[in-house]
Symmetry: C2
Amino acid sequence: MKQLFVVGAGPGDESWITPAASQAIQASSDLVAYGLYLELLAQQVSGKVHHELPLGAETERAELALNLAASGRTTALISSGDIGIYAMATLVFELLDQQLQGRRDHPEWLDVEIEVIPGISAMQAGASRVGAMLGHDFCTISLSDLLTPWETIVKRIECAAAGDFVVSFYNPVSRKRNWQLNHARDLLLQQRPATTPVLIGRQLTRSDEQIRITTLAELDAADVDMFTLVSVGNSESRHIINGTREWVYTPRGYSRKLTT
Amino acid sequence: MKQLFVVGAGPGDESWITPAASQAIQASSDLVAYGLYLELLAQQVSGKVHHELPLGAETERAELALNLAASGRTTALISSGDIGIYAMATLVFELLDQQLQGRRDHPEWLDVEIEVIPGISAMQAGASRVGAMLGHDFCTISLSDLLTPWETIVKRIECAAAGDFVVSFYNPVSRKRNWQLNHARDLLLQQRPATTPVLIGRQLTRSDEQIRITTLAELDAADVDMFTLVSVGNSESRHIINGTREWVYTPRGYSRKLTT
């Protein structure tokens, strides 16, 4: 059987990788990933053939993984977080789709058995670090306008604001792009209190993890980099302080039927 | 140290529970959960004191967990999926908040060290089973109107439709409630093609897992029960068929810059 595992390795901490993901990596002879992820997985990936391609070479990475698997080498395509959320899994199926439409010349891809194994995504890591920020309806929005027109992203932010969803921003900034986050903040401020709690979570679950809780009014792209998740509470999210510990939670509903 | 672990055990398959979650369960003397979840975790929970409370007794379960931990017993409050997503974690912090406001009489709760450990949520399990349905911006909406007014839920569905988010419906039906899902479908149909792919995933990752891919027009609450996740694609989600395998993926963006 020609096998490709498409594996989410979680945010960073090795104890947050599911056994299913670890087993898929162990069963593979070849690993395809952005180099940094393989470093985080150091203990799990020794003795494997590593295929490292730089950031930006996403299509090439998915093609390589399909080619390796089609050649008979059991292969794991790995990304951090959940590989199904803003990550490589969708590209694998986009390539498969193109082949099915006759727009690629790789009929051998169609013989590859594909198994996708999800992982803990950044929004979940961030929410858990500060309590229960995703306790009620939420959405995710990528602020990268590389593949999505900015007008589409604006529309989505406006809808998230109107619907009072907790919002997690992925790709909040990049090396070349940092104005979108402040623009998004201003759009949310039109429909949500200035005091709405905001989580700024950097390098979540890694040794240099930094967690900061601020407010929507004080959110500033200058405090955010490529390794940061930004989550904005809904209008009922609460920031509470118990001695030296701070928490943010979003209640389960709006009616507050909980008896006191 | 008085310790409460708040643990998400994933959708069901034991190989989808993170080592961090397993370690927290192992470190605990007392486990608080809905009985069914403990059955799924059979191998991990032997030798522990089990505190099973029925569905509906959520507040009591969170109180019990805080009380046990405050009494010095290391305790794990467990739910399936991600305990931070429509689950028990937020209730723990709601109780803590009430105590901080003086609306409860449990000052001992404030001395409990709380650690939240997320798990793989149903939307992730479902998306991975059919490929990469959450490949771009998505949201989750609970259709339970127990704590949220139905008008608020309707507004949120309309905003999700207007923003073209992939939508995962949690609590799509209950024993007493089943009309909301068809109403939600009709709202989405006003702004999304009838052919939009829909995933109906029942008992995800469990031995009796059932996966069905249908269209938005054909989605019917009669095919859905309490153990089912329903995810609706966005306007660009694609349903593809490769021999005996079917997949649904949502492309990464809208501009389709991928070269062919």
